[in-house]
Symmetry: C2
């Protein structure tokens, strides 16, 4: 008899790997929040995001947006208005994170309630 209880099957390993991949892509304090904001707003300009996401500095916002753009989750569009404006929106790839965003949103709301009850 071999030890079996400590082994996970292939399907589970795959899921754990998937979680790890997703986690790596969404690393840091802000990426999921940015995605959630864009998910709700559709499009946002830099200053809209900056104002909407409390506590984020322009430097960090800029860096996070670049990361997200590199991973093809966010699309950046420069409009040739005079003062230049830049729009950010989710790519289809980014929009496909909807289940993750919704699950995290719902869970967070419930968790907050359960804490306040005590």
């Amino acid at each position: 008899m071999k030890k079996q209880k400590t082994e996970l099957t292939g399907v589970c390993r795959l899921q754990v790997q998937g979680v790890k991949d997703t986690q790596d892509l969404l690393s840091g304090k802000w990426k999921t929040v940015i995605i959630a904001a864009l998910y709700n707003a559709g499009k946002f300009r830099f200053m809209d995001l900056s104002r909407h996401i409390e506590g984020i500095s322009p430097k960090v916002l800029s860096k996070e947006l670049k990361d997200l753009e590199m991973n093809r989750l966010v699309k950046r569009t420069v409009l040739d208005t005079m003062p230049v404006t830049v729009e950010y929106e989710l790519t289809p790839q980014g929009k496909s994170l909807n289940k993750v965003v919704e699950a995290m949103g719902e869970w967070g709301i419930k968790y907050r309630k359960s804490i306040l009850k005590k």
Copy 2:
């Protein structure tokens, strides 16, 4: 006329806040992976987790488990066997993260496939 396009409604704000709360609780590289592993395994001993999650050091694993325990997502049980063994499992609160884990798992699997296709 006021600017309206840059405003999110209350419900959306709530969701963004929820995402932020969840993100804060699951901060760092490893927490979601640990939760996914426990979600699949039911129970795991320290060394099981250590072996199963590739690349994590005992120090970091120990710290992450403590954080998760503090936030009541993971339960730690010491068994009075001789060599002492310790079991970790998700609390009901931790188990309620199932949608998040599943969504992240699925998305990660799809994302990986979409990258490989190119």
